[in-house]
């Protein structure tokens, strides 16, 4: 039986080796090579790209981590109450409609939805137009091509990934525990902090991982909404592989970004285990 099980997994393993492990090794090797003509890799080996990644590009690296972190926090603050609201509706139909609305944006191409934000946030955009006509501002606000615009775009794009796992957690939560906590003298805030939040933490952690990881590597959103001020590591990597780029540098940046993702996953696993064990 054990061997049969291995056979069943073989296609997947083969796929992963050919299309994941092997490319990863190639990227790792390339990241230590020199830049040749037209941006391709050539010998000799050199750590120079990593020095640049942690040197002049560290500001973009930190900006990516910061924006992804902020995106995660905003998604959590907005998404938790929403998920809580949806999963506590008595009628199943209301829940299903609400969940449908949460994932409805996925029906439109992500690129188009991000372009829509350009129209909303631009100098002559919808928001500025509205504020000007209401007399609330005298000059249009600069929102497009800022980190703020990137944050808005990322939160908009990844909010469903926060809502869905939290919804699943709250759905499973037994509200008898709220009665019990109230009964023992805990007011609503303390009941939430001591009972509801710890017991729905798996959903919160999963949501944070699902939002943070793709946010760190995002490049469409910062490309369209961030301009030069909102450049993120994803854009940097993207640039190295196009036209007259620098493949070894792009590889080194990719490895660094992967390390950030792996670190955040480690935090996730550690937090989950502590939650389950303590």
């Amino acid at each position: 039986m054990r061997q049969n099980g291995f056979l069943l997994a073989l296609p997947t393993i083969a796929w992963l080796v050919v299309f994941f492990v092997l490319p990863l090794v190639i990227v790792l090797v390339v990241s230590f090579m020199s830049r040749g003509r037209g941006g391709v890799a050539e010998l000799p080996f050199t750590p120079a790209h990593y020095e640049r990644a942690f040197g002049i590009f560290s500001i973009i690296l930190w900006r990516s981590i910061g924006l992804a972190g902020l995106t995660t926090v905003v998604c959590l603050v907005v998404g938790y109450p929403l998920a809580f609201f949806i999963s506590t509706r008595r009628r199943r139909l209301v829940q299903q409609i609400a969940l449908f609305l949460v994932i409805l944006p996925f029906w439109t191409n992500f690129l188009i939805r991000t372009y829509a934000w350009r129209i909303l946030l631009g100098e002559q955009g919808t928001i500025n137009g509205l504020l000007l006509s209401l007399g609330m501002i005298d000059e249009p606000l600069t929102m497009l091509n800022t980190q703020f615009a990137v944050l808005v775009g990322l939160v908009y794009g990844f909010l469903p990934f926060m809502v869905l796992p939290i919804y699943a957690s709250v759905e499973r939560f037994n509200f008898r525990y709220v009665d019990a906590a109230n009964d023992l003298g805990a007011n609503d805030v303390r009941t939430f902090m001591r009972v509801v939040l710890p017991l729905t933490l798996p959903g919160v952690l999963a949501g944070c991982a699902l939002v943070f990881i793709p946010s760190v590597g995002a490049f469409v959103t910062p490309d369209l909404l961030g301009g030069t001020k909102g450049l993120m590591i994803g854009n940097l990597i993207n640039n190295q592989f196009g036209g007259s780029g620098n493949m070894p540098l792009g590889s080194a940046l990719s490895i660094v970004m992967m390390a950030v993702v792996m670190l955040s996953l480690l935090v996730y696993v550690f937090a989950n285990r502590r939650d389950a064990g303590a």
Binding site: D183, L184, R190
Partner: protein, 371 residues
């Protein structure tokens, strides 16, 4: 004026349900005394748990008032009420240890951690479960979880402890043991217990007083003896223990709570009237418990003095160990069940099926109920 520990004044609770309104609790008024073991008894859906949740503060009454120790509870949230609850499924916090569960309520009161830990250990001693403080609830058996739930509530020293079918999830033997323990514990701590159960035997063995509920209405409140011996309604007589119901016609009321009734075959007998009997004449039901019916071979003059005697034919007998159950036909379509204790060998099969016998009982063993 006496103040009661818990006083319900004309409580109504309605729930929205699919467009309509369902009345779960219907004009319930009751007064529960300090230190009393009070059982709310009824079938599932009768409103007993809702009543408990109203007292706990998890639900707000649609109308009526709740007083705890003389203090009106309107607008006072569950976390400020001097009551604690033992939930049916215990509701122990799964992410906390047993000790942390018990300390939870104390910490909400601002008790210092060290002091709370000491009190938690004492509470575990009290429910005879020392040394499990560091475990998680799921590592304990159902009976142990039940004790932890009890300790968690008692450590708060509430004025009133509310128990919602606390033994419902335990197996029969454990349940019997816990009944005695709970009763002993209640005497020991002297706290008023309000105990919700659908198990009539549990209510009768444990409670000082029982309130029987059905369809949101509190039908009768009384001691277990009153409830069992003088059920107020057909429903109660049927719900609690086994009862024979004999259709009859009330002919006249007599002093001392007795009356003359006529059975279907025209026989007149004397029977005790229920306190709440509305009818003064006309169709009624006579209730009598199987163990109150005596059987004698026809012609042997067992029925003495004021006892009622009726002729019957034995149609079936069933040996059930401690007792023998006889089915006896008194009129064409009226069968009674009688239980006779098998106190000596010869009695168990003393009567043959088809034999004519005489049934006898004291009039006070009967209760005349509204039809």
């Amino acid at each position: 004026m006496t103040t009661f520990d818990v006083e319900l004044k004309d409580i109504v609770k309605e729930f929205e349900s699919g467009g309509g309104r369902v009345r779960a609790v219907d004009h319930v008024s009751v007064q529960i005394e300090d230190g009393e073991f009070f059982a709310l008894l009824g079938p599932s859906g009768c409103g007993k748990t809702t009543t408990l949740r109203l007292i706990a503060g998890f639900e707000q009454p649609t109308a009526g008032r709740i007083l705890i120790r003389g203090r009106a509870m309107e607008g006072i949230p569950a976390y400020h009420r001097p009551v604690n609850t033992v939930f049916q499924d215990y509701a122990l916090f799964p992410h906390l240890t047993v000790e942390q569960n018990i300390m939870f309520g104390l910490q909400m009161e601002g008790v210092h951690k060290r002091e709370a830990r000491k009190l938690a250990a004492e509470a575990l001693e009290k429910v005879r479960l020392p040394g499990v403080g560091r475990r998680k609830p799921h590592q304990l058996s159902g009976g142990q979880q039940q004790r932890v739930a009890l300790a968690r509530a008692l450590v708060k020293q509430p004025a009133v402890l509310l128990l919602d079918e606390p033994l419902g999830a335990l197996d029969l033997k454990l349940r019997k043991n816990m009944q005695f323990e709970l009763k002993a514990l209640q005497r020991d701590v002297g706290i008023t217990f309000i105990y919700v159960t659908h198990d009539q035997e549990e209510a009768i063995t444990m409670a000082d007083r029982i309130a029987v509920m059905n369809d949101g209405v509190m039908l009768q409140v009384g001691t277990p003896k009153e409830i069992y011996e003088r059920p107020g309604t057909h429903f109660i007589a049927d719900f609690i223990g086994e009862t024979n119901f004999i259709p009859a016609t009330l002919k006249s009321r007599e002093p001392m709570g007795f009356g003359q009734v006529e059975l279907l075959d025209g026989t007149h007998i004397c029977a005790a009237l229920s306190n709440t009997l509305a009818a003064t004449r006309g169709p009624v039901t006579v209730a009598i418990r199987p163990e109150r019916i005596g059987i004698a071979a026809k012609g042997t003059a067992q029925a003495a003095g004021e006892e009622t005697a009726l002729d019957a034919i034995l149609v079936d007998s069933q040996y059930i160990g401690t007792d023998t159950r006889y089915t006896l036909r008194i009129a064409d379509s009226v069968d009674l069940v009688a239980r006779v204790q098998n106190v000596d060998d010869r009695k168990a099969d003393a009567f043959a099926i088809g034999q004519s016998v005489t049934l006898y009982w004291h009039p006070s063993s009967t209760t005349v109920l509204d039809h």
